[in-house]
């Protein structure tokens, strides 16, 4: 089955793959940072009592969660030019990943905040803390412990999702596999190598997630 697996060609294309790994890491890092900001803002709007903020946030979160990422990517890729906005593929892709993960992160944070015991909030109110103080001293420190593990999980999902950007010809890991396939017609070598690199990234992130779960002080919250 793998008898004629051509390692020489893989070695020859190694620079291309490494460029892909770097690009994937870059895309993931930028997108997760932006998504975190988007998610925090969306969650803040979602749980605020102001209707003008709350309903748009609900619409955003639910629309993103109920449509596929690929459709969102195509929507931006084919849709933005019709609005007269011409932005490069890479930025379109990062925008799509940011909007997509942002909605999931908003829900993760909201679940964390909701998990704080009602009694703690009431105790805060009766101690005379105002809304901001309650958030800062009671809700957020506890919510953080519940949100960190799923946030790290979302980070892993985002790295894998970034593979879809290859379909709008952003240069990243999957795209380098496609390039090699089209140049040499060796899909087995190309895509198994790509899979190998994704596995490496996955295990690094997974190890980090497991470590932080054991190590972080937040675990005392459970």
């Amino acid at each position: 089955m793998l008898a004629d697996f051509n390692f020489r060609v893989i070695w020859e294309y190694m620079p291309l793959f490494l460029t892909g790994v770097r690009a994937t890491a870059f895309i993931a890092a930028v997108s997760i940072t932006l998504a975190l900001i988007t998610g925090i803002l969306a969650c803040a709007c979602r749980i605020s009592g102001i209707k003008a903020l709350k309903y748009p946030a609900i619409a955003y979160i639910e629309l993103i969660r109920s449509t596929p990422l690929l459709v969102q990517i195509y929507f931006l890729y084919f849709g933005l030019p019709t609005l007269g906005l011409r932005i490069p593929e890479l930025q379109t892709g990062i925008l799509a990943l940011m909007l997509n993960s942002g909605a999931y992160i908003a829900e993760i944070i909201r679940a964390g905040i909701n998990s704080v015991d009602e009694g703690h909030i009431e105790a805060g109110i009766s101690s005379g803390l105002n809304y901001v103080q309650r958030m800062r001293f009671i809700i957020l420190p506890q919510a953080l412990g519940v949100t960190i593990p799923p946030l790290l999980g979302q980070n892993i999902v985002l790295v894998k999702d970034s593979a879809l950007l290859s379909l709008i010809s952003v240069v990243e890991l999957t795209r380098s596999g496609q390039t090699m396939t089209s140049e040499r017609f060796m899909p087995a070598e190309a895509f198994l190598t790509v899979a190998f690199f994704y596995m490496c990234i996955y295990f690094c992130l997974k190890a980090f997630a497991d470590w932080s779960q054991r190590k972080l002080i937040f675990r005392e919250v459970y």
Binding site: M1, E62, L63, R65, S66, T67, P68, L69, L70, V71, Q72, Y74, F75, Y77, F78, G79, L80, P81, T82, L83, K160, D161, S162, A163, L164, S166, L167, T174, G177, Q178, T181, P187, A188, F191, L192, V194, A195, Y198, M199, Y202, F203, K206
Partner: protein, 217 residues
């Protein structure tokens, strides 16, 4: 111009319905097969046999560690090199079954692991065989833990069916992609595609939310 394209879009709307039908077909078949395979794998994963546990663990790690697009490419482009010719549609179903079953396996294994050891021991000391312990005591209790994330996973799987469009399966996403070449009004075309996906997955999201609240009590 916009109105003109809109009229064209209305004209080819049946094409979109065909895509919706294809997406529903893939989604339905793969949900059923993923659930069945995932259940069996999940039981293997929480079995006493180390080899079985280890094998399933490797399978799950491989599937969870790589993007779904790459898995589809591997199945669609590499299997033919090994002499297994697959049409796009069966290849898509196979990829979905492999991917989905690994995720469902983890959910099932998590649910089974959450059942206290005492339940197994009590069942064993009542004289139930291994299979009976699982079927009569553990699974019914684990179901309560498994169900909410399972429905959530169904939503993710339905959305992941959009990725099979890359190997040329004429599903909803592919229909949108083909249409946008003819009707250069991307916003309109993909709003329509998105709305059709919304129709399928939103009820399931609501169901998942409902189950989560219901089971939490």
């Amino acid at each position: 111009m916009m109105a003109f394209y809109f009229a064209q879009l209305v004209e080819i709307f049946p094409f979109f319905l065909k895509g919706l039908w294809m997406t529903s077909k893939i989604a339905f078949i793969s949900l059923v097969s993923c659930t069945l395979i995932g259940l069996v794998l999940g039981i293997f994963r929480s079995s006493n046999s180390i080899i079985l546990r280890y094998l399933v663990g490797v399978y799950v790690a491989f599937v969870r560690g790589t993007p779904f697009v790459v898995q589809i490419f591997i199945i669609f482009f590499i299997f033919p090199e090994w002499g297994i010719q697959l049409e796009a549609f069966p290849a898509a179903l196979l990829a979905m079954a492999i991917m989905g079953s690994a995720f469902i396996c983890e959910i099932v294994a998590g649910g089974i692991a959450a059942i206290p050891k005492g339940q197994w021991e009590a069942a064993a000391s009542s004289g139930l065989t291994n299979l009976q312990q699982l079927r009569l005591v553990v699974i019914p209790q684990a179901m309560k833990i498994i169900l909410p994330p399972l429905v959530g996973q169904y939503v993710l799987l339905i959305k992941d069916t959009s990725v099979v469009s890359v190997i040329g399966v004429m599903d909803l996403t592919r229909v949108g992609w083909v249409t946008v070449v003819r009707i250069p009004e991307g916003l309109m075309v993909f709003t329509l595609v998105g709305a059709l996906y919304f129709m399928i997955s939103y009820p399931l999201i609501l169901l998942s939310n409902y189950l989560e609240q219901r089971m939490a009590i």
